[in-house]
């Protein structure tokens, strides 16, 4: 039955409806536990459904394609969604009465991105993109507080709207150049008419909106502000799930420009600048979320290296990186959420004494951060390794070298985080952080993924490779 093809999307629609109903009922403050448990249960179901639909293949007319590529990313998205829900039991950053909406927006955002990864048509992509973006704009502004969230929300919104206007214009150019909105048809047009400026420039303009999602230079300016201004859980979501979606989107589009040296040149420049700028700026950050925001900018650069190789291996590397990034970034945010249990922001120095307050969180932080830094044997290393291997296959030696130098810079600030967690002592002794048993299990599971992904990434990599094949096919 064809509806099965979009079972995950339908499921998320259903979830959105459930939360919408919650929001409609009176006094939602009173039903926090019920709400949370519902959310958790539904999220678990989402993971199950998305994973179960992993092997589906097919398409809706010509605009919606369900293949391994999209399904893998849907599974990532559902996973990211689930993980973020897992760290929401307290949710001090959002007022109780707004929590149904919080869950609703999260679901809708995920839904948007799921559609994004399956869409192979400009209009659907655009609308799905807007759907996920708008949910995020609102989510960012939902935080309780004295206004910084509004500031973040407005900046995010304006930059995002401007970027999406550029995207729109780019799409118009593409359409004007070839009269097609279907990606396969556009690809066809590109291959027959690679020197059409309108097509290529349109492609580049279009990508800018996607790069915005990915927080790639120069579309990254929102990242630090939003990371800092949004509630911790929302930031966690932005930093993990949306990145996966953005990577999928960029992958889809980058395949269009595979033949063009112009396109690849641009991507190289963007990757290099993004890595360097992100890492350098992160060096001086004091706020942990801000630091992670700049590191996200840098990571966007690394992912782009994989993408710009325009080879199956490169795409596979980028897909792998998406999963890796999701995992390792999430664990950092998990620690952040647990440590900042009042819902506030966290300075790096406030991690002091973490090893005493909660050894397991300290270990998680170290694993997450070193994985982000790309130290073996973590999944982050494998991701970088694959990306660099793909780049090397294309002969980009200096690009790899620059990448490694950036890794070095990034390790400096990552290590400072580890240092704060492990070696500095707080001025007054803080109470231990209690973790529930399920949380511990989850942490262990993620740590296992991180380490196994470093030592034995074969499974994940073959998956990514097949997905990449599906993408190119």
């Amino acid at each position: 039955m064809t509806w099965m093809l979009i079972a995950p999307e339908l499921y998320f629609c259903f979830m959105a409806a459930v939360f919408f109903t919650f929001g409609m009922t009176a006094r939602p403050e009173a039903k926090q536990d019920g709400l949370y448990l519902t959310a958790l249960g539904l999220a678990l179901g989402a993971v199950v459904v998305s994973t179960a639909c992993g092997c589906l293949q097919g398409s809706f007319s010509t605009i919606y394609r369900v293949d391994l590529f999209s399904q893998v990313f849907k599974a990532f998205l559902a996973m990211g969604y689930f993980l973020v829900i897992c760290i929401c039991p307290e949710l001090p950053g959002i007022e109780p009465k707004r929590r149904p909406e919080f869950y609703l927006l999260l679901s809708v955002c995920t839904l948007g991105m799921m559609m994004l990864v399956s869409s192979v048509e400009l209009l659907t992509i655009y609308i799905a993109l807007e759907l996920s973006s708008y949910s995020l704009y609102i989510l960012v502004a939902l935080r309780r507080g004295e206004g910084r969230h509004f500031e973040a929300g407005i900046k995010y919104f304006l930059l995002g709207a401007a970027a999406s206007a550029v995207t729109l214009f780019g799409m118009a150019s593409i359409y004007g150049a070839c009269g097609e909105t279907n990606l396969p048809a556009i690809l066809n047009a590109v291959s027959t008419n690679a020197h059409s400026p309108m097509l290529m420039v349109g492609l580049v303009l279009t990508l800018s909106g996607f790069f915005f999602k990915l927080a790639l230079f120069p579309f990254h300016f929102w990242a630090p502000n939003v990371y800092e201004g949004a509630a911790n859980q929302v930031t966690a979501y932005i930093a993990t799930a949306t990145k996966a979606g953005a990577i999928a989107l960029v992958l889809r589009f980058a395949t269009l420009g595979a033949e063009s040296t112009y396109f690849v040149h641009l991507l190289v420049v963007l990757a290099v600048v993004s890595m360097t700028l992100g890492n350098l700026a992160a060096v001086v950050q004091k706020d942990l979320k801000r630091l992670l925001a700049y590191s996200a900018v840098a990571h966007a650069g690394y992912v782009l290296i994989g993408i710009l190789c325009m080879s199956e291996n490169g795409f596979a590397a980028a897909i792998f990186y998406a999963a890796a990034y999701l995992t390792m970034n999430f664990i950092c945010f998990l620690v952040l959420v647990k440590v900042a249990d009042q819902g506030g922001n966290l300075e790096v120095v406030e991690l002091a004494g973490l090893h005493r307050r909660s050894p397991i969180l300290a270990v998680s932080m170290m694993a997450g951060v070193f994985s982000l830094g790309g130290l073996p044997p973590t999944i982050g290393f494998t991701g970088k390794f694959l990306v660099f291997t793909a780049a090397m296959e294309k002969g980009y030696f200096s690009l790899v070298l620059i990448g490694m130098i950036n890794v070095l810079i990034s390790l400096y600030y990552y290590v400072l985080v580890v240092k704060a967690a492990y070696f500095s002592e707080p001025e007054e002794s803080l109470p231990a952080i209690r973790l529930s048993f399920p949380t511990k299990v989850m942490i262990l599971a993620i740590l296992t993924v991180i380490v196994v992904g470093g030592f034995y990434p074969d499974f994940l990599y073959s998956l990514a490779l097949s997905a990449a094949k599906a993408l190119v096919a």
Binding site: A141, R148, A162
Partner: protein
Amino acid sequence: MIVPFSHVFILAAAVFFIGLACVLARRNLIMILIGIEIMMNAAAIAFVGGALHWGRLDGQAFVLFILGVAATEVAVGLALVVAAHRVTGSVDPDRYNLLRR
């Protein structure tokens, strides 16, 4: 026989340019929103031109959705502006610098 497609495209770009200049130059959130609206409108013009150029309806369909998105954008944007104005008492984005380090 109207005009060459390129003229439509350039017109669209010119409109886009005005919106872009507005976004970049004005220090009023509402004006910036307006600028973005103009930019989207510019894209819409290009789409309509493209649709005519190729004789296909996708471009026009696009415009339909652009209108929808524009409406949403205004709703969300203005809601944000109003809410922010309530906190800061200003619509000048330059005054929004709590997050600057």
